[in-house]
Amino acid sequence: MKEKFNLVVSNLKRVLSNSDLSYKIYMVFAILTFILIGVFGIVPSSKVFIANIKLAIDMNKSNSMLSSKLVELKKVEGDLKAVEDSIFFLENYLPEQFNVQDYIVDFVFSSGETDFSIDRVTPVKEAGDVINLAIVFVGNGNPVELVNILESLNRVTEIQDLKVSQNEGYTTLSMLVKTFIMEKQ
């Protein structure tokens, strides 16, 4: 075994003692080494570098978006604070829940401006965000004026059906009124 090894070494020494041949061998080794380092070293590192650059660009973009979102949210917060009082009115105009007493108060004030008074109020049907009310007014006022006032309420009121009848000098107005709520989701 040792003899075989010594034979190989001596053959190698003999081959390398030829300077032209050894130069060619070293060149081949050098080129092979360069290719190996390129394939197994530089290419993966470059790939990592390119991926890092892409990631950095994406992160920079998303950070910019988040920054502008934050600015927007700060503005929204300011706007919300500014309209805090108006939200109270919105609750009155488009309540989250149906409270018949709130409507009665509105109708009493409205009819008070004419010569009518409320005789009765009955919630008829609730379908989603729409509430129907049957209301009866009695008095001697102008029906057009009363209808006009009711339809001008900020709390949206639509008169669907109106019955006007005269009895013993009094006018009776029976109406079916559609109102709206918006349930909080």
Binding site: M59, L70, E151, E158
Partner: protein, 134 residues
């Protein structure tokens, strides 16, 4: 190449720190965002209802303002599309005049007389009519 990779990794780390901080800040506004969206939705819904609402008062005003003082409307029913009236007047001409006014006003599209009679007790004409709004 190794140095460049180290440099980009550091940049990414600092961007990540900044991103985490921004996410925390944005998350702290989630309730505000939620309530702002709700208010916006509610305002839009309110505006939509306001824009779509149909008004009875111009129709009622048209019918009553075109009714001669000599005609007494005993009973009337109005909807957004139609109306019916039971009224009494001194003679047939007042009702002819009334129907003519209704049809020429541009608000009523058709009128049909359901019944007409002379009340011999009061000497008044009683007319029962129906009409449709345009």
């Amino acid at each position: 190449m190794i140095i460049l990779n180290l440099l980009t990794t550091q940049i990414i780390k600092s961007l990540k720190v900044k991103q985490d901080s921004l996410i925390r800040q944005v998350q702290s506004y989630s309730e505000i965002e939620k309530s702002a969206k709700y208010v916006d939705k509610r305002v839009s819904y309110y505006k939509k209802i306001l824009s779509q609402r149909e008004s009875m008062s111009p129709r009622l005003d048209f019918i009553l303002s075109n009714t001669d003082e000599s005609i007494y409307i005993k009973d009337a029913r109005y909807s957004l599309s139609s109306f019916s009236i039971f009224a009494e007047g001194p003679n047939a001409y007042t009702f002819t005049n009334l129907i003519s006014k209704y049809l020429s006003g541009g608000v009523v599209s058709e009128i049909s007389i359901k019944g007409a009679r002379l009340n011999t007790r009061t000497g008044m004409f009683e007319v029962d009519m129906e009409g449709r709004f345009k």
